[in-house]
């Protein structure tokens, strides 16, 4: 540590960089799991895949404490307003992962009750295809979000 700090004990950076660095490595997901994909999401949280390696294991079931919403599972019109409301309750900055074909575009359910893609009512940052996507795919999506935060970030104030 000391050697990398150049002996003087301080380093120079921009506020944006350090904030983004912090944000990206401590994503607090809000798992909005509804159906089959939620089981794979649980798989990603559990022993074998262990999402905490990417700093995103602190699942918050209260939207007010989260900054990443993982929408996994079919969203029906009946549920859509709930989903939207939860998104609205999350503090800024916030990101959304659409996990599974259902959230990306209705998936196999081209029917009267299912929303054909959550981007009808939510801004989505990363889409993960698959029915269900494997946990690796979700981890990949989280890494993509991290990249996004690193590169663009969000205003600090």
């Amino acid at each position: 540590m000391n050697s990398s700090l150049g002996g003087d004990g301080f380093l120079t950076t921009t506020i944006n960089y350090i904030a983004n660095w912090g944000r990206k490595n401590s994503l607090w997901p809000m798992p909005f799991g509804t159906a089959c994909c939620a089981i794979e999401m649980m798989g990603a949280f559990a022993s074998r895949y262990d999402i905490s390696r990417f700093g995103a294991e602190v699942a918050r079931f209260s939207p007010r404490q989260a900054d990443l919403m993982i929408v996994s599972g079919t969203i029906t019109y009946k549920l859509a307003s709930v989903c939207r409301r939860i998104y609205d309750q999350m503090p800024n900055p916030k990101w959304v992962i659409a996990m599974g074909s259902c959230t990306c575009g209705g998936g196999p359910f081209d029917s009267y009750a299912v929303v054909q893609g959550i981007d009808e009512f939510l801004p989505v940052d990363v889409y993960v295809g698959g029915c269900p996507p494997r946990p690796e795919a979700l981890i990949d999506a989280i890494m993509k979000i991290q990249k996004k935060i690193e590169n663009e970030g969000a205003p600090i104030i």
């Binding site: 019109y77 009946k78 307003s81 939207r84 409301r85 009267y112 009750a113």
Partner: protein, 173 residues
């Protein structure tokens, strides 16, 4: 198995000769068609005298343009026997005219019928007389059509959208 299903069904038929107007058998499953008027009485006796204590399933079929009467209610009952060693199942059907889609609720007899009947109400619009809680169960309450009717298109998302937009505007109650 202490009693075989044929003899049980035979005795049901002989006791309710006037109410059962048709029987039908396919792949070892017997279906009895019961007249709508005597349906409730028939069900009471089915539970009390014939010990069909367990309701497995209630559903309906819409035979639009195929058959008159248009709707058919389908009930499936199971009998355990005293030592839970029997496996007797019986399917009861009641035909409903398009002009009068109401039927007596069997929830007072088997409380397990409650949600199953509500689902039929939701999906087919069949009304149950004497049901303790006749509300839609799966679709939102302000939803109008009945999705499982044959004249409803599976891709008709308009009604769902309307109820979604309304909810978004008014807030989640």
């Amino acid at each position: 198995m202490s009693v075989d299903s044929d003899s049980v069904i035979g005795s049901i038929r002989s006791q309710f000769e006037s109410s059962i107007y048709k029987t039908y058998s396919f792949r070892d499953e017997t279906t009895l068609f019961v007249k709508k008027e005597s349906f409730l009485k028939f069900c009471r006796s089915l539970k009390q005298d014939f010990k069909f204590t367990y309701v497995i399933d209630i559903t309906a079929v819409d035979y639009l343009d195929i058959r008159v009467p248009r709707y058919e209610m389908v009930y499936l009952f199971h009998r355990f026997g005293d030592d839970y060693d029997e496996n007797i199942r019986i399917r009861i059907k009641v035909e409903l005219e398009d002009s009068d889609i109401t039927i007596d609720s069997i929830t007072p007899i088997w409380s397990g019928a409650n949600w199953l009947e509500r689902e039929v109400l939701d999906m087919f619009g069949i009304e149950f007389r004497g049901h303790p809680d006749p509300r839609r169960i799966l679709m939102p309450e302000d939803y109008k059509p009945h999705p499982l009717r044959k004249d409803f298109d599976v891709r008709n998302r308009q009604p769902s959208k309307e109820s979604f937009e309304k909810e978004l505007k008014e807030g989640f109650e």
